[in-house]
Subunit: 110 residues, 2 copies
DNA sequence: TTCAATGTTCTACAAGTGTAGAACATGGTG
DNA sequence: CACCATGTTCTACACTTGTAGAACATTGAA
């Protein structure tokens, strides 16, 4: 059963959901990696969490409108929806350090 | 028993906690009101929630470093920590529409 | 001192979240 | 076909969260 993956339209992307999605450090880092290294295959992501947990995070990122998922064979290519997010919430990706390097004094953030 | 209210130092303000705090629409609106109308007394805030719930939200905002609380008689004056937040996460308050008016197409956000 | 006003804290609860193991689905390969 | 690789979905669980009522603390005023 192939069901189409849900992606909100640009105008449906909600700030509540985006901020919630980005409040998790792993999800924020996934977004950062997608921006820094371009589209990725899920398996290329390396975090100390279970496959099912990673899948959950990717679902949150996709359903909140932060990334796009394209099925390609057995793998899935995920892409940051940079333009949609920039159009909807200008400066947000920069401000949450997804598209901007963190200033020195921020790196030690707990 | 008067215990000093906890306020994180500027350098201790964590992006995780700030984003989580701002992912709630009521808390984000409180921040917006503080910016727009200056320091407020808690009782001036008008939301359809219980006193204890409002108090909880204010605690989250204070402990995440978003606002400062000053006890003054029986009331408490709350202030947006605009400069600290701007220094720590430049552009964030604007991007989450706390210090910037929402563009037309964003007002209908669900 | 007694009373009222302002908020916080305590307690409780339903809903949501991050986590992971097991099973499943899909697609490529031999 | 059988087999493996990639990820998702199902189920479960402990923890957190937003919510509110009741009691409490503090201060100012009558």
């Amino acid at each position: 059963m192939r069901t189409a993956l849900y992606h909100p339209d640009r105008d449906e992307i909600s700030l509540d959901k985006v901020l919630h999605a980005l409040s998790d450090p792993i999800r924020r880092d996934i977004a950062r990696v997608m921006h820094e290294q371009g589209p990725r295959v899920c398996g290329q992501l390396d975090y100390p969490i279970a496959k099912s947990t990673l899948s959950h995070h990717l679902k949150v990122l996709r359903e909140s409108g932060i990334m796009h998922t394209e099925v390609r064979g057995t793998t899935r290519v995920i892409t940051l929806r940079r333009e949609d997010l920039e159009a909807r919430f200008p400066g947000l990706l920069d401000a949450v350090q997804v598209t901007a390097p963190a200033p020195e004094h921020v790196l030690s953030t707990v």
